[in-house]
Symmetry: C2
Subunit: 245 residues, 2 copies
């Protein structure tokens, strides 16, 4: 349709990187592109920690399910929801405290994600590859200590950035009619759409994993919902000043 949309549709996560570093100009272009994303009432409730220190990357890899590409990528970005800087700015005017509401947690989390996704688009436009790392929520308190995150800051996800040393194909997505609804939510397309997608994803998994992995979307979702994960998040967030009231 146009070059931008083609780029968006070409996205695939990269899990093997060349050692080549990013230069400062690239890093700034990526973060300034992130900053150009929409933000709720201009609060800009996020920070990003660019980790290039090899020892810290190694420790982060160990904290996030030993994903080797965290250590191997030249820059590991840790995207944090950040109400601490807001609080600092507000304190220049008057004594305030950060609300303990679920609403402000949503605002900060969404602000972070919008900025990060702009960073992805910028990085990919520069020929770089990325992969999001939800695994930093496996041990969020340790990650926070390592990166010296203060109260009112929590690491939402990490992101490897670097030059791709692999060329994986894009994973197929759900049929668009199961995701896009018209004027009201309708589950009418789910039965057919998910059956079709199960077939596509099974074929894709068998091909990409060299015939060794037999799965479908339904099976993956059953596994996903069947196992509780990261039950520490609520207590961790409370500790960090996000009370979700």
């Amino acid at each position: 349709m146009n070059a931008v949309i083609e780029q968006l549709k070409r996205h695939r996560s990269i899990r093997k990187y060349k050692p080549d570093p990013l230069n400062e100009e690239q890093l700034l272009a990526i973060v300034q592109s992130a900053q150009a994303a929409s933000t709720s009432s201009n609060v800009q409730a996020y920070s990003v920690i660019a980790v290039t220190d090899p020892d810290k990357k190694r420790q982060l890899a160990a904290l996030a399910a030993n994903q080797a590409y965290i250590e191997e990528c030249p820059v590991f970005l840790v995207w944090c929801a950040d109400l601490n800087r807001l609080q600092y700015a507000a304190s220049l005017e008057e004594e305030t405290r950060v609300p303990d509401s679920t609403e402000i947690f949503i605002i900060a989390t969404v602000d972070t994600a919008l900025a990060a996704q702009n960073a992805v688009i910028a990085a990919e436009s520069l020929g770089l590859g990325i992969v999001y790392i939800g695994g930093i929520r496996d041990n969020p308190a340790d990650v926070s200590r390592l990166l010296e995150l203060p109260k009112y800051v929590y690491p939402v996800f990490g992101m490897c950035v670097g030059y791709p040393d692999q060329e994986p194909t894009s994973r197929p997505r759900l049929p668009v009619e199961t995701v896009l609804h018209r004027d009201r939510y309708s589950a009418g397309s789910f039965a057919d759409g998910i059956e079709r997608y199960n077939g596509e994803l099974r074929q894709f998994a068998l091909t990409r994993a060299g015939g060794k992995r037999d799965t479908t979307y339904s099976k993956e979702m059953a596994n996903r919902l069947g196992v509780r994960k990261r039950d520490h998040m609520r207590a961790f967030l409370r500790e960090k000043g996000f009370d979700l009231e």
Copy 2:
């Protein structure tokens, strides 16, 4: 730096639209671009409701602080975190229930935001403009009823899409050094950076509002943190099956 990054940096929210509709091809390109965004373990935990029905747009505008552009834009997209479709897919394999964890709430909310931001980039590449509408969280239960959102689905934000009928300038953002940290979080740049930004934002607000609005980032953040907003969100989410445990 390149055309994509230039587009990202040109972003500005549009609050006045021409009546021209989007065609089906444009809408599909936008939603398929959204689907190409990263998603946690391929869960794809979101849906988008494309509202074109004039009466529903009018009602949504009324529910979201009477923002007229919701009614005026040709398509209003309501981006929803959606665990209902996952649950349906999983139920094809075995009996499961959606976890009541904060973790899965984060996953669904982040998935939704990443997809939505890709939609923004696609829309803007087509010459369209957008504005995010957090205001649908003013009355999330009414919005949910109007759009027939089932359990395990919650409206995260809305988004007006259409041809711009105004040409606002981009709002300046925080100095990059206050947002980008190196290897560890540091508040060292905040004092200087926020003072400088206060001046820039004051100038911008005075110019854009024709000299009538005198504000700074610090003042806006003090106002923002000083007022509790949308305290109904926790109870609403619980009602929808998001327990945040």
